[in-house]
């Protein structure tokens, strides 16, 4: 790790001011990607601004029929939240299976989606549940938020404050874990919200994407069998030493079916 100045502001305005002053500032939420990156000397920020003490970013609540999760809610908080379990149990289940216990006790929903790791779990839930990302400046629709591998619609210095999820009638996540890292090789989140079906796939491609054929099939017939006749093209899917594009294409289908079964 290279040396840097560490800050722990108590408010969003202080955080923004610190970031503005820093030569090369970096925001830190749970640090589950950033800290290993720093330890590997793959990043060299002058200033690290820890968002952990900002009360405005915390909390999980029901608001106007929707579920609102503060950006600094840890995965373990989401997994254990009675509000989440009551409103969107599939989301609590997703959080409960991120990484391992250590990661879940540090990692946050805001940090995860801001990082936009192609193998992260949360992006699939954000997109499939048609959530809205709230930032210090604006709200961003799920479909507009994830723009590529490690890329989002966030502007420089724009801090996520909360994520707002409409309540779904059915929602579940099925993941095929990388046996080493336990990131998603492929994760499928299926949701039916207000009669509309969304299927979002993470891990398989450079960024989360909607599998529109499956959405159409499930809209017509909400059952795992509805997926049987579909096929997924391997073109453009990720390939690495753990899974080829062909295998990922297979897993997109298998995991989507399993998510539908889990959603009931």
């Amino acid at each position: 790790m290279y040396s840097f100045d560490y800050h722990k502001p108590a408010s969003l305005s202080d955080a923004a001011a610190l970031l503005g002053k820093a030569e090369e500032g970096k925001l830190m939420a749970g640090g589950q990607t950033l800290i290993p990156t720093l330890k590997q000397r793959l990043a060299r920020p002058t200033d690290l601004i820890d968002l952990g003490a900002i009360a405005e970013l915390k909390g999980i609540k029901e608001e106007g029929g929707a579920l609102v999760i503060g950006a600094m809610a840890r995965h373990a908080d989401v997994a254990a939240s009675d509000v989440v379990k009551r409103m969107i149990p599939g989301l609590a289940d997703l959080a409960d299976n991120i990484g391992d216990a250590q990661v879940r006790n540090r990692g946050t929903i805001g940090g995860s989606i801001a990082n936009s790791d192609p193998a992260a779990d949360y992006p699939s839930a954000i997109v499939a549940l048609n959530a809205t990302v709230h930032t210090v400046k604006r709200t961003i629709a799920a479909d507009a938020f994830f723009t590529g591998m490690f890329e989002t619609a966030l502007e420089e210095g724009e801090i996520i404050t909360a994520i707002r999820f409409p309540r779904a009638e059915k929602a579940a996540y099925a993941k095929f874990r990388n046996p080493a890292s336990r990131y998603a090789v492929v994760g499928a989140f299926v949701a039916r919200t207000g009669g509309s079906v969304r299927v979002a796939i993470t891990g398989a491609a450079p960024s989360v994407f909607r599998w529109t054929e499956a959405e159409a099939a499930l809209s017509a017939n909400w059952s795992a069998a509805a997926i049987d006749g579909l096929s997924v093209k391997a073109d453009g899917l990720n390939a690495d030493i753990h899974a080829s594009a062909d295998y990922r294409a297979n897993l997109v289908k298998v995991m989507t079916k399993r998510a539908v079964l889990a959603a009931g």
Binding site: M1, Y2, S3, Q40, F176, P179, A180, S181, I241, H242, A243, S244, D246, Y247, N250, L251, V254
Partner: protein
Amino acid sequence: MAPLDGIGASLRRKEDQRFLTGKGRYTDDFNRHGQLHAYFLRSPHAHARIRGIDTGRAKAAPGVVDVFTGADTKAIGGLICGWMITSKDGTPMKAGSHRPLAEDKVRYVGDHVAIVIAETYNEAKDAAELIDVDYDVLTAVVVTDKARAPGAPLVHDEIAKNTCYEWSLGDKAATDAAFAKAAHVTKLDIVNNRLVPNAIEPRAAIGDYDSGMDSFTLYTTSQNPHVARLVLSAFNGIAPEHKLRVIAPDVGGGFGSKIFIYAEETVCLWASKQVGRPVKWTGDRSEAFLADAHGRDHVTTAEMAMARDGTILGLRVHTTANLGAYLSTFASCVPTYLYAPLLSGQYRIPAIYAEVDGVYTNTAPVDAYRGAGRPEATFVIERMVETAAREMKIDPAEFRRRNFVPADAFPYQTPVIMTYDSGQYHKVLDEALTLSDYAGFPARKAESAARGKLRGIGFCSYIEACGIAPSAAVGSLGAGVGLWESAKVRFNPTGNVLLYTGSHQHGQGHETTFAQLISTYLGVPTDQVEVIHGDTEKTPFGMGTYGSRSLAVGGSAIVKACEKVIEKGRKIAAHLLEAAEGDIEFKDGKFTVAGTDRAKSIQEIAFAAYVPHNYPQGVEPGLEESAFYDPVNFTFPSGTQVCEVEIDPDTGVTTIVNFVAIDDFGKIINPMIVEGQVHGGIVQGIGQALLENAVYDPESGQLLTGSYMDYTMPRADDVPSFKVGLVETPCPHNPLGVKGCGEAGAIAAPASVMNAVTDAIGKHMQMPATPERVWRAIHGTAV
């Protein structure tokens, strides 16, 4: 009454108090006065010529005391390989120059280029980035078949075809003749995947030169501190043996990877005199992946000839072993003498012929890793036996029974050096079949099929050779060291015992098991015994711990030392009890005049020995005895594992649903510790079969699995509960009747798991059986 904490007691491990409460003292826990910190600059290239190194900016960086490169360290002798292998044409193996810091070329990613020594670790690391190395990057050779191809780049310019040796064992003509009369021949191509050892404690070293005494002390993560001292003295020339103390304190796992003498400790030790202050290096996990000696990495073609009834007639094996870029300390013997002599397995095979080519590549050195050659041999013979049985439509258990060495045939001479001393292979197999409910398997398979799953069952009936010995025999095969062990039993005047052993514990529980020997042999309870190891200034010269040798060889030395204590004690007791020496019996810690109740405890005798006011004439005071034990043969643990798997054809995920291991380790000292060793070994074996794989990019030679993000270590939720059992056939040639248990699980599990996987999918496939590979095998698309 015999003490309750002696042989046979599942005593809790004495050492766990400190290990589990964070009070262990590992190399990194030591800090010497005035200590500096080292960082090694490593090669980012798999193969490159070094045109020049400019250390000027690094030397001027904050906190830096000095920087050394290969040009500065020419006085250090090269790193050695301690076992000479002779090729089948009679020529000696070709060991390329192995400099502690690279001079002309770098030969793998992670190769050592320079050491930066600074006041803090971070300053050393920062300064290393300022070293300017002018590399001429060369084409790398990563896999052995390419390394042997005509025109391939040479890892060592002077070694043609990148070939260290072309070695053979066995009778080629007899084997050819056996194949000529075969009714059936089974042939398989077998890959034994490369593994990274992953001890929980990364390697570390502190070199400490004392100018007043003109002597060196090395704290290091070693499995064999005396061997390290010998090599650092005699070959690296750092200091004569009497001026070098090597301390291997608590060591957090080794699995073989800490047997070897590496560049890091060699250079830190040397540098401590150059800079006049202690030099400490602690490797991080990334360095462990890159530069700890790896394990396995064989490519084999095996053929086995059978008569019509399944009787094995002959076995022919050709193996190419990837040795990596340099010969590590014992690298040469692992794919040769620790491998091919085990190819007979538990079977009567009249003719065996094995050829092994040792090949250099631009990858990390490969050396002994838990099992060391024996897992590779076991995997070959057990995959062959299982496959032959299936091809010949003979039940695999029955096929084994027909070919086992029967219990009345010991000692049994194989065609490949070994003389098996004892075993009950049929009995072990039968117990494994019962415990695994083999008879119920077809019903379980049908039940799985009804749920859309594929179920398979696989066996592995393994043999291993432990307690590598005797010295004269291994010497005749090329070993550069003797393979005996030492022990010293010292009674204190108050009757408690210090037990010194030349073996070394790094997780095995010696402090408990060895104390249990003292309890049984001398009647001193284990809480009155302290086991001392790991310091060349405290313990007698010893060979260390590897090859499941500590109890069979080191424990036997302890017994010999105990016998000497009893003999001396008998003389003292006879005097004190005014009886003839021949009338004194020793039992349960008491010397008794036979047929009477007149007795002296061993503690009373010890006191008399140190306060010899009333003492026999001509007997030396004191009660302290040493012994060295050189065995007459290897020991041959054996056993059978039965693994049952269920495979999800949609994803290729393999789940182990049942796992049985019946082992014959001879006499058992501490059943709980043995069971722990079995569990750990099986988990490592399952890791190799299903999860672990060290992958280099075939073009660039970069290690693609350089962290736990990509290298899959087995975790608790990857493995089932194991059902284990023991059959005890005492080893006939050591005083304890013990055989060794440390490696068996890792030796056998790859074959039992892969036999189950291949049974489930009905096809041969290579390790590791990752989900995608299994899925492709099921669905017919080649990996």
